[in-house]
């Protein structure tokens, strides 16, 4: 039993871990305004993956269905998404543009 990747240990009970992580992500997303695009798309991704995790109990078949590398990598990705959601709460990137650039800034050729 091995992941095949250096430094990545095999996760025992990945379904439980993914369930906890996805519920936490959805909880953090509740704090974002409903019309933000980030909340919409992330909820869509998380719900899709959550449904797949709930339906499929075999680890190999779940990996094939998710089509996103090893289960341990999926767990790492979910942890990243959780930390990103928390940081998004502070940065609030759904607001309109902070400042317009000067008109010649992005003109190429000059």
């Amino acid at each position: 039993q091995t992941t095949g990747l250096v430094g990545l240990a095999v996760a025992e009970n990945p379904h439980e871990r993914l369930r906890i992580l996805y519920t936490k992500i959805l909880g953090v997303l509740e704090g974002i305004p409903k019309d933000a695009a980030y909340r919409k798309y992330t909820e869509q991704i998380v719900n899709e993956r959550f449904d797949l995790v709930k339906k499929e109990t075999d680890v190999q078949k779940l990996q094939d269905k998710l089509n996103s590398g090893q289960i341990e990598e999926v767990i790492i990705q979910a942890e990243n998404e959780l930390s990103l959601a928390r940081k998004m709460m502070q940065w609030k990137p759904w607001e309109p543009l902070v400042e317009e650039p000067p008109s010649n800034q992005w003109r190429w050729p000059i």
Binding site: I45, L84, M88, P93, P96, P101, P102
Partner: protein
């Protein structure tokens, strides 16, 4: 011969560019796709860390690898330096370019908290252009000589330098 146009990849990159622009309207000023199928995001300098963390952590955009961090000097502009980040996604095999701007005196947020690889690249940009990076752990000269004065890659620095050798 001319390189054949890959319409499918162009459409995919356009779609992804619109996706990212919809999620981060606060910082993204413009999105463009070159004719060689390269996606570029043009950012306000306040948004460097949010945009880079988003591109690194989001499930649809796992750009875990910082391939390059450079600067371009265009002296005729008000904000003369253009900082360019090249990111690579290993999961989706795709590249993206993030560009910001600054002038000579305004500091820019360091990308080191997001990508450890940015350390020496930012030292090089500081040494060669004079762009100061705030919150960099160790910003000092990396390529010029120890007592060197000036920033060589700027367009107003002469080719043979100021000091006779």
């Amino acid at each position: 011969t001319v390189r054949p146009k890959n319409e499918v990849e162009q459409k995919q990159l356009c779609a992804f560019g619109e996706y990212v622009a919809e999620i981060l309207p606060k910082y993204i000023q413009q999105v463009q796709v070159t004719c060689f199928n390269e996606l570029e995001l043009l950012i306000h300098p306040d948004g460097i860390i949010p945009v880079l963390t988003f591109l690194r952590d989001h499930t649809n955009a796992q750009f875990k690898s910082l391939a390059d961090l450079t600067a371009v000097d265009v002296p005729s502009r008000q904000y003369r330096f253009e900082i360019v980040y090249n990111l690579l996604s290993l999961r989706f095999n795709s590249r993206i370019r993030v560009k910001t701007y600054t002038d000579e005196l305004t500091p820019v947020d360091s990308a080191v908290p997001v990508h450890k690889a940015a350390n020496w690249y930012e030292r090089e940009v500081w040494d060669m252009f004079g762009v100061f990076f705030a919150n960099h752990p160790d910003l000092r000269r990396i390529l010029t000589d120890y007592g060197f004065e000036g920033h060589p890659f700027r367009k107003d620095f002469p080719l043979s330098g100021y000091v006779e050798v």
